[in-house]
Symmetry: none
Subunit: 236 residues, 2 copies
DNA sequence: GCAGAAGAATTGGTCCGACCAATTTTGCCT
DNA sequence: AGGCAAAATTGGTCGGACCAATTCTTCTGC
């Protein structure tokens, strides 16, 4: 017995929940749009949503939308939210971990990116270039998130996507909380970040895993140094 | 917010399952008839059925009918566990991720292990050696977990320790569920695992991060190949 | 200018009617 | 009796339609 359309829709939604394309708390596209995107009728899409809702992964609110519950993501990430506020030194551990995580993700992306992935990456990098030219700080911050998320997606490993989506959110939360953002105001910093992002794009496009990893390492190291100039020297 | 029609239908079906009106193995009335009986449309009735089916209480067969599952126990399984069984490729992703995670942890451990860490590691490796000599399989499995955990601890990064503990548990759960454990029974395999663990110990004790990482890579690769001999060749 | 209210657009919840394919039942013919 | 094909039944899917709750826009009045 071949899988039914509802089965396939359920599986697809599960995948998107797993790899972070639908992050915790996020709102899914409207049922009509999502059904169309998945190539099924709205009734079938609704059946898939009901299944996941019954398992506590989704929750729908009339008039508003379908939202991702924190049940799945809470399991691995939520304990960190509290710990991070109470033990600021964990921020260092997170950055160190992200260096490895994103470095490997970049390498995998250079290996496995599909044409669709490359198109997506190119789209983000182009918008990033435009935002940089127009000196649109807010847009740059947003696109920075998108960029790192797109790389994780292109790595084609659910674990990387999932952790990337959740840890990045956690990290930004932590930064905002400590009023310690990147100094985008500094022109030199913004320019350096752009250079690093573009170098990353070239490495992935050229399918050079080692180069992509090293470039990402350098990028995270730069961010780390810029983020906590005081603590940087104290790193073991 | 008042309960929706689908909610009421779901509750009604639950009641009938609980009080035995729909016994185990029994066939429910046809959807059209049941929907009419409950005073809802077929689409709504179907959504209720999907919810219960997602919880494993019902199963529907096209052309035949909707049947009551034999096991009425509410699923106490974590969302992750269920996803892991339904998305086999996730196991591959997890192993790939663990390779990176544990490889880096081993390298950090070689760099940062304190005297106390080394004492702990030596204790585990000694007990592992003894279990190996006595051919105590159960003990070997247990100590294997301890060993990997001890390395993550010695890495002195909370993220590594946390993820190591949780992913390893998930992975073992998954293996047990699929009756697909390592063939400890095979003497050659047990011997190889011991050699790898010992090589890891030597690399960490010698404070050789690169060597520790490479050794761990080789170890995980060995486990991966042993674990899924069929899928191993299909890895991209 | 700007807060607030009225209106428009969006979104999930529900129903209806229809068609398909798999399955079961029926009933005819050998 | 037994085999077998037609007919009825059943779950799976689709499209359109309407409602009520929510969110987004726009216009108003101070």
């Amino acid at each position: 017995m071949p899988p039914t359309a509802a089965d396939r829709a359920t599986r697809e939604l599960e995948s998107r929940l797993l790899d972070g394309r639908y992050a915790a708390g996020a709102r899914l596209p409207a049922e009509r749009a999502l059904a169309d995107e998945l190539g099924v009728s709205r009734g079938t899409l609704r059946e898939a949503v009901q299944r996941l809702a019954a398992r506590g992964l989704l929750a729908s609110r009339v008039g508003s939308g379908v939202y991702v519950t924190d049940r799945l993501h809470g399991g691995l990430t939520s304990p960190w939210r509290q710990l991070l506020t109470e033990h600021p030194h964990l921020g260092k551990d997170m950055l160190e971990f992200r260096r490895v995580l994103e470095g490997e993700a970049a390498a995998f992306a250079a290996e496995r990116a599909t044409r669709a992935d490359l198109t997506m990456l190119r789209g983000v990098i182009d918008r990033l270039r435009r935002a940089r030219r127009d000196d649109d700080e807010a847009q740059e911050v947003l696109l920075d998130s998108l960029w790192h998320g797109a790389i994780a997606t292109a790595a084609h490993n659910a674990m990387f996507g999932y952790l990337q989506a959740n840890l990045l959110a956690l990290h930004r939360e932590h930064m905002a909380q400590n009023h310690a953002g990147l100094r985008f105001g500094d022109r030199a910093v913004a320019e350096a970040l752009w250079q690093q992002h573009f170098a990353l794009w070239e490495a992935i496009r050229a399918r050079a895993p080692e180069q992509a990893r090293d470039t990402m390492y350098a990028h995270i190291d730069f961010v780390r140094a810029r983020l906590a100039p005081d603590a940087a020297g104290a790193l073991p």
